[in-house]
Amino acid sequence: MTRAVLAAALLAVVTAVLADDFLLRFLAEILLLGIAVMSLDLLIGFGGLVSLGHAALFGGAAYAAAIAARAWGGDVLLMLGAGIATGTLLAAAMGVVILRSGQLFLLILTLLTGQMVWEVAFHWRDVTGGADGLRGLPALSFGPWALPGAQPLFLLAVLLAILAWLVARSYVAAPIGRALVGTREQPIRMSALGYSLFAVRFRALLLAGAIAGAAGALYPFVNLYVGPQSVHWTQSAAMVIMLVIGGIGSLWGGFLGAAVYLGIQTYLSAWTDRWQLCVGLVFVLTVLLLPNGIAGGMRRWRGGAE
């Protein structure tokens, strides 16, 4: 594992030196969205809680970071603090509302609560800029050192991705993560064993909110802009699509899914207007042919080869 992390870090440094600005920003976007998708995987893949409001946590944190950056400057620790706090708080509020229900009701409640955040972002013009969003963000900094340009952003995104992956991995392996899977598979037995379904799920939601919030905090610095689209439920749906393409239940699948989705969006839209059609086709084909996503397909292929 340490070897994998070191290899990833080395690869990241080489990429940061060689790649141009556009590519680095694109990769940073993939990584940040991938982190958010990975946190969504904790809910969907491990907790069986299908949420269509995850963009509210991610985008809410992005707004909080952007507002804080405009007021006090773009210190990385401030950004991450604002983002994690906002993501966790929004997740807590969402959890109180949604976790008494299950299945389709939970889906609709996440959607409604997520859209309430969007309504605030869209209509509270004085603070969020309304439909225009927020522009004119200061550059990122760390203490007295300024971190301008795409390279530091990309390296920060890599660092955050590795950290978030380690946190999520240890969470899933820990008793509380096992309990989360238990509440998905056998809720009645888990209550009989003395677990509070609400408490186990609530903690998973808080962690997912914190991770998504951390990723969201850096997201405005990719394009130096944050708009209401990042909070909208279609963004939540896009995250679910990325998760499915990448593979539900494998933490790193989210990064693959984000890469495929954003790759189609960025490169295919350059020469056809029908990129949404392609996303839809890829998505439906994944659901039909690879129900466990690319990650699941790779695991099966590797297992078959051995």
Partner: protein, 293 residues
């Protein structure tokens, strides 16, 4: 000073006409959901397809009232094709897989329709009989919306009779609770399920054609309508006809009156009301008795 009573009456009628639309569209979704346990997120696409068919039919000069059956048939046909592949393979799958499949399909349809019908907002040319306004307590009210209320009540009633009072409805409900026994009676249950899906898709298209006069038609409407339909069905409670009616009324009134009272934060207020309702009644307004143990 505006006539307060007339204003209230007109707003109530507005809410009712919106509820009628939500009812028709929600019924299409809830029939498939409660009878077949299938979550069909392409329903919004059926609605939008019906809107476009309706608009082009009304613009073509053919008899206007045929626009609605035409929309029903067009969407029903698409539903029939989709039922054969790939919906049928997913009836036994968990909800999550159904949601993913049908949402992906709805993305494809949304883009195909943007391709075929353009990205601009289209409004129908209403026939003369449905144009104009009537005066209710000295306040003008569009005739078309009265027509919408009437259509909603009539079609809702017809559907209820069909599902609750005919042999065909009995076969359907029996096929849902015990498919094997119905098959031993010599009834092809696969065909029954196909018919339900066609009926549901057709209802979506029909409500789209009706709704075009109120909401127009544009890319993205499919998602908005899908959301409203889902909320309607869930707030009302799964698995009962009365629930969908209650859900349509609650959502229609909440959205209409929140626009009157909080014009800036209308949806926020309406969503808050709906969330509160779902927190107080976690299985919807009309929760049916549990069928499975």
């Amino acid at each position: 000073m505006p006539d307060l009573l007339g204003y209230a009456a007109v707003q109530t009628l507005n809410a009712l006409s919106f509820s009628a639309l939500l009812l028709l569209n929600g019924l299409g979704l809830s029939v498939v959901l409660s009878l077949m346990n299938f979550v069909n997120l392409t329903h919004g696409a059926f609605f939008l397809l019906g809107s476009y068919v309706g608009i082009f039919w009304l613009g073509s000069g053919a008899p206007w009232w045929l626009a609605f059956p035409a929309a029903f048939l067009a969407s029903g046909l698409v539903g029939a094709v989709l039922e054969r592949f790939p919906f049928r393979q997913f009836y036994a799958q968990p909800h999550l897989m159904q949601v993913l499949l049908t949402y992906g399909l709805s993305l494809i349809f949304a883009d195909l329709m943007r391709w075929g019908f353009g990205a601009q907002i289209l409004t129908p040319e209403l026939p003369e009989t449905l144009q104009g306004v009537v005066f209710i307590l000295d306040m003008p009210f569009p005739i078309f919306r009265l027509f919408l209320i009437g259509a909603g009540v009539a079609l809702g009633l017809a559907l209820w009779l069909l599902l609750d009072r005919t042999v065909w409805g009995a076969v359907l409900r029996a096929a849902v609770s015990d498919r094997g026994i119905v098959e031993t009676l010599g009834i092809d249950t696969r065909r029954v399920l196909t018919l339900v899906l066609v009926l549901s898709a057709g209802l979506g298209g029909l409500s789209g054609a009706l709704g075009a006069g109120m909401l127009a038609a544009y890319p993205g409407l499919d998602e908005e309508v899908l959301l409203l339909a889902l909320v309607t069905v869930v707030v009302g409670g799964l698995g009962s006809f009365g629930g969908t009616v209650a859900g349509a009324l609650v959502v229609g009134f909440a959205l209409t009156f929140s626009k009157v009272w909080f014009p800036e934060f209308a949806n926020l207020a309406a969503f808050a009301v709906l969330v509160l309702l779902l927190m107080l009644r976690p299985s919807g307004l009309v929760a049916p008795p549990l069928r499975r143990i």
